[in-house]
């Protein structure tokens, strides 16, 4: 028995057959019914946004304000020289432009750009955190990043009158007398409330996608022809939608894409395999008492995630929204440009993949120079203005 699942609106559009764009000076780009459905599935944008049920201050204006203050505050680092914004700078799309993050020391992975985080299921390249607030704890206490203990964090927040007052107002407890671990969690929840407000706006692609949905060929023609050709590769020959699907252009899960995963000579970055181990060991995961989701329904992925051998070498599939502004790329920042990324998939080294030979998802795309340029042109249309609150 076989069941084909398509959104009804998409199915209705498919009845009209393949889409043919308005003819221009170059050859018209055509999309098959399946490609058209795949394109429409990348929207609409923005999607509905919902508070995090595991964070009781998610969406709270006072929490967003406190979180914003903490995000830029160097008191959160041991030597008072770094803040969250050191590696997640608004001026560089909430990333840092470096291959690997540098806090108090060089870390193993690229600093992921922060945007649209409310859509994530997992956080960090290995998914070691199952909530944004749990992820926000990590850099505070990591000795290579901000390097504070929970006790040091509590003391520093207590010594800052405005922050202490905001904390008391928000969490109904005096920070100086709250348990240090509770202060750490509450500060992370305020940080998460702020980070949830970092969102990307509409893009040229979104305008094209919506025009396609309306069969508005005049508006569709405004989308650059190289980007149209690149989009056709993205949803067709490139099979990029196997992992980069949906409005946020990601499965939210983890894949091995053949990027070497040695953090340094002789030391392997365990990727998702280690991420699952860390998740399970974390006292702050969604199954813990710190989750504000009373019935722990938000913890379904955490409860059911299975650690498998193939998780070695897997890293989180990143969103492609604003990808042109978040170089360098991959978990270790080893690819400097979008051209490098496209070349990586075009000339893929299959020896580096862990999947079963003959049944691999990834194969070298063998793109022509024109196809590679078109694919980059498409990716460059996924950029939108970043906004954040309060």
């Amino acid at each position: 028995m076989k069941q084909r699942v398509l959104p009804s609106a998409v199915a209705a559009l498919m009845l009209a057959g393949a889409a043919v764009l308005a003819a221009g000076p170059e050859q018209a780009v055509t999309f098959s019914a399946d490609e058209r459905a795949a394109i429409l599935a990348h929207g609409p944008w923005p999607p509905p946004r919902h508070p995090d049920p595991s964070n009781r201050v998610s969406g709270n204006r006072d929490a967003i304000s406190l979180g914003r203050r903490l995000f830029f505050d160097t008191r959160l680092s041991l030597d008072g020289r770094q803040s969250c914004a050191t590696c997640h700078d608004p001026a560089t799309a909430f990333a840092d432009g470096k291959p690997r993050g540098i806090g108090r020391a060089l870390v193993d992975r690229n600093a992921i750009a922060l945007a649209n985080l409310g859509l994530n299921r997992w956080f960090g390249w290995a998914g070691a955190a199952d909530s944004l607030w749990a992820q926000s704890i990590h850099p505070i206490v990591d000795v290579k990043e901000l390097g504070l203990t929970a006790e040091q964090l509590r003391d520093r927040l207590a010594a800052a009158p405005a922050i202490a007052a905001a904390y008391t107002h928000l969490f109904q407890a005096a920070v100086a007398h709250d348990a240090a671990e509770r202060v750490l969690v509450n500060a992370a929840k305020a940080l998460a409330a702020f980070q949830e407000t970092i969102v990307t706006g509409r893009t040229p692609f979104d305008d094209f996608r919506d025009a396609l949905e309306r069969s508005d060929t005049r508006s569709m023609a405004h989308y650059p022809r190289p980007a149209q050709r690149g989009l056709a590769i993205f949803v067709g020959k490139g099979n990029c939608t196997a992992c980069h699907f949906g409005p946020n252009f990601t499965s939210g899960e983890f894949e091995d894409v053949g990027v070497p995963h040695f953090a340094e000579q002789g030391r392997v970055d365990a990727g998702r395999h280690g991420g699952i181990a860390a998740l399970r060991a974390s006292p702050f995961n969604l199954l813990s008492p710190y989750s504000d989701n009373a019935d722990k329904a938000a913890g379904v992925p955490t409860r059911h995630v299975e650690q498998q051998h193939r998780n070695w070498g897997e890293f989180r599939v990143p969103s492609l929204r604003n990808v042109a502004r978040t170089a360098p790329y991959m978990h270790n920042g080893s690819l400097a440009t979008l051209q490098d990324v496209v070349r990586h998939y075009s000339e893929l080294n299959e020896e580096r993949l862990h999947g079963h030979a003959g049944r691999r998802l990834l194969r070298p795309l063998r793109l022509t120079p024109q196809e590679a340029a078109d694919l980059v042109a498409f990716l460059e249309t996924l950029s939108g203005e970043i906004s954040f609150g309060p």
């Binding site: 959104p7 499965s251 059911h304």
Partner: protein
């Protein structure tokens, strides 16, 4: 199709034990299409199943309800397992589902998620005494 004939050695399917341990129930009255159930049958068995939400989407968690309607040997089902894999890619799910019996012969599975567009083969194994019966259902997920 019996479990012994299916995909053994492929590494794609992981045998899943029920989190609630062994469950022994006779076949139940078969729910209808009006209740949102579909049927899946082989010479050995027939089940009714439904998903929640009803339309599966790549990357979204869902639950499955399974009702055992008929078994060939008339023995109680003492274990039931569900799994899913992508035959073309040789991988299964990233999650291990668990089950509870919510009525005699009626089970609810949680923790199911098909993380990629394409063709998935969902397998439901019924264990009765020493006999295994496997029922399969294929679903194509668009991106």
């Amino acid at each position: 199709m019996g479990i012994g004939a299916m995909t053994r050695g492929a590494g794609a399917l992981v045998s899943l034990a029920l989190s609630a341990g062994t469950i022994a129930h006779p076949a139940a009255a078969c729910p209808t299409a009006e209740q949102g159930f579909r049927r899946l049958a082989s010479p050995e068995a027939e089940i009714a199943y439904r998903w929640a939400p009803p339309a599966l989407k790549a990357g979204q968690f869902f639950t499955a309800e399974v009702v055992t309607c008929r078994t060939r040997w008339g023995e109680a089902v003492h274990d039931i397992k569900i799994d899913a894999a992508m035959p073309a890619h040789g991988h299964g799910m990233n999650y291990r589902p668990s089950a509870v019996a919510i009525a005699p012969g009626h089970y609810r599975f949680t923790g199911l998620m098909l993380h990629m567009p394409g063709t998935w083969r969902i397998t439901i194994d019924l264990l009765q005494g020493g006999r295994h019966t496997r029922l399969t259902h294929e679903v194509d997920l668009s991106p």
